[in-house]
C-alpha cells in the first residue's frame, strides 16, 4: 500500500508529526537503559510527549485528508520514502551525549516552529501549538541543562559531547532548506535560523563546545523522503507487529 498526502497543509504537518514520532521511538529505546533511574524516567516521559504530539498532529492531518487514513495507518503503514522526518532525529543512541545533543537540536528547532504556528488560522493547529509549547519547555530545559553539564563536566564528558555534536551537525543544514510548502505555513522561516544561531552560540559558549564548520550537504532532503540508513531499521522495529498482524487488536 502506498499512502500519499494531497493537502498542502497536511504535507507540512506530516514533517513535524513524523519527526516527533521517530524521535519518540528513539527515546523509547532508552527505556530501562538510562544512565540512572531519574534520567531513565525523564527520557521515557519525553518519548510519551513526542508520541502524543505526533498523534495529535496526525489527527489533524487525517481530518485534512478527509479521513482516508487513521493516525495508526500513517504511523504503521508507510515505508521509508513515505516518511518525512528529518535526519537528526533518526540518529542512533550511540552515547548519552548523542541522546542529549539530538534532543537539544530538536527542541530548539521545533520550539520556534510551534511558536510561529501559534498564529495559524486553523484553531486546531494554533491550540495544539499552545499546548506543545507549554510541554516542550520542560524538555528544552532538560536538554539545555545537560548540554552545559556535560560540556563543562569533565574532559571526558566534554569530548564525548563534542563528538556527538560534530557527528549530528551535518544533518542540521537540511532543517533550514525550507521549500514552498514550509514558507506558505510559517510566518517567517528566516527567523527560525536566526533563533537557532543565537541559541546555539549562547549554549555552545556556556558549554565550552566548538561550533562545527558549516557543512555542505551531499544527502538529499528529508522533504522528498530521503533519509539516513537508520530510518529503515527504526521502522522495521516499530512497524513489525502491525505489519505481521494487520489490524490486530489489544
Amino acid at each position: 500500500m502506498s499512502i500519499t498526502i494531497k493537502n498542502e497543509l497536511a504535507q507540512f504537518l506530516i514533517r513535524l508529526a513524523d519527526s516527533e514520532i521517530i524521535l519518540g521511538q528513539r527515546l523509547a529505546e532508552m527505556c530501562s537503559k538510562g544512565p540512572f533511574l531519574e534520567e531513565d524516567i525523564a527520557l521515557s516521559n519525553l518519548a510519551l510527549d513526542l508520541f502524543g504530539r505526533g498523534e495529535e498532529l496526525l489527527k489533524i492531518i487525517a481530518d485534512l485528508e478527509d479521513n482516508a487514513y487513521t493516525p495508526d495507518d500513517y504511523t504503521f503503514r508507510r515505508n521509508e520514502r513515505e516518511y518525512f522526518s528529518y535526519k537528526i532525529v533518526e540518529q542512533p543512541n550511540n552515547d548519552f551525549a548523542w541522546v542529549i545533543a539530538r534532543q537539544y537540536f530538536h527542541d530548539v528547532y521545533v520550539r520556534e516552529i510551534f511558536r510561529q504556528l501559534l498564529n495559524h488560522s486553523d484553531q486546531q493547529i494554533a491550540g495544539l501549538s499552545e499546548k506543545v509549547l507549554k510541554e516542550i519547555d520542560y524538555s528544552y530545559l532538560h536538554a539545555r541543562d545537560w548540554m552545559v553539564r556535560l560540556g563543562i563536566g569533565t574532559e571526558e564528558s566534554n569530548s564525548r559531547l563534542q563528538k556527538a555534536v560534530d557527528s549530528l551537525w551535518k544533518y542540521s543544514e537540511e532543517l533550514f532548506a525550507f521549500d514552498q510548502i514550509d514558507t506558505n505555513v510559517l510566518d517567517d522561516s528566516d527567523q527560525i535560523k536566526t533563533v537557532w544561531d543565537n541559541e546555539i552560540d549562547q549554549v555552545f559558549s556556556e558549554a565550552n563546545l566548538e561550533k562545527p564548520e558549516e557543512f555542505k550537504r551531499h544527502i538529499l532532503d528529508f522533504r522528498q523522503g530521503f533519509h539516513s540508513e537508520y530510518l529503515g531499521m527504526i521502522l522495521a522495529d516499530m512497524q513489525y507487529l502491525p505489519r505481521a498482524y494487520p489490524d490486530a487488536q489489544w
Partner: protein, 141 residues
C-alpha cells in the same frame, strides 16, 4: 462525573482535575467534552474508558465523548480545594512559576528538585531539605 476518579491520583475526580469541560444535551443525546492534561498522557484513553464505564453503570447509553485540545488544559483549573486534597494525599500542588514548593510531609518550603520528570508526565520529583523525605510535585502548566 464527579464519581469518576483520576486513574493516577484517585483522590481527585475528573471534574476537579478539569478534564471534564462541558456536558451538553444535543438532540436528546448527552455530549461530553473532555480536555486531556498532557498530549502524551497515557491516561488519555483511560479517561474516556472510565467515563463510558460510569455512564453505562448508570444506564446512560446515549452519549458521545469529544476530546478537545483548545482551550489548553492548565493547572489553573485546579481549585484551592482540589490543591488541598492533593497536598493531603502527599502530592505537592502546583504553584505559580514552580516556586515555593511545599513539602507535603512537614510543610517546609525548603525543598529541592531531584528530577523534572516523575512517575507521571504531570509530576516532578522533589525532596525536602528539612525532613529529608522525597515527594511528588504536580507541575504548573
Amino acid at each position: 462525573m464527579e464519581q469518576v476518579p483520576d486513574p493516577e491520583i484517585p483522590i481527585i475526580n475528573l471534574v476537579e482535575l478539569g478534564v471534564i469541560r462541558e456536558l451538553n444535551i444535543v438532540d436528546n443525546q448527552l455530549q461530553i467534552i473532555i480536555t486531556p492534561t498532557y498530549t502524551g498522557c497515557p491516561a488519555k484513553q483511560l479517561f474516556e474508558d472510565l467515563i463510558k464505564e460510569k455512564l453505562i453503570e448508570h444506564n446512560i447509553l446515549n452519549f458521545t465523548i469529544e476530546s478537545r485540545i483548545y482551550p489548553v488544559w492548565t493547572t489553573d483549573w485546579l481549585s484551592d480545594e482540589t490543591k488541598a486534597k492533593l497536598l493531603k494525599d502527599g502530592i505537592s500542588p502546583p504553584t505559580l512559576g514552580d516556586k515555593d514548593i511545599i513539602c507535603p510531609h512537614c510543610k517546609s518550603l525548603d525543598t529541592k528538585m531531584i528530577s523534572q520528570f516523575g512517575s507521571t508526565p504531570c509530576q516532578s520529583l522533589y525532596s525536602c531539605n528539612s525532613c529529608k523525605e522525597p515527594f511528588n510535585y504536580f507541575k504548573c502548566l
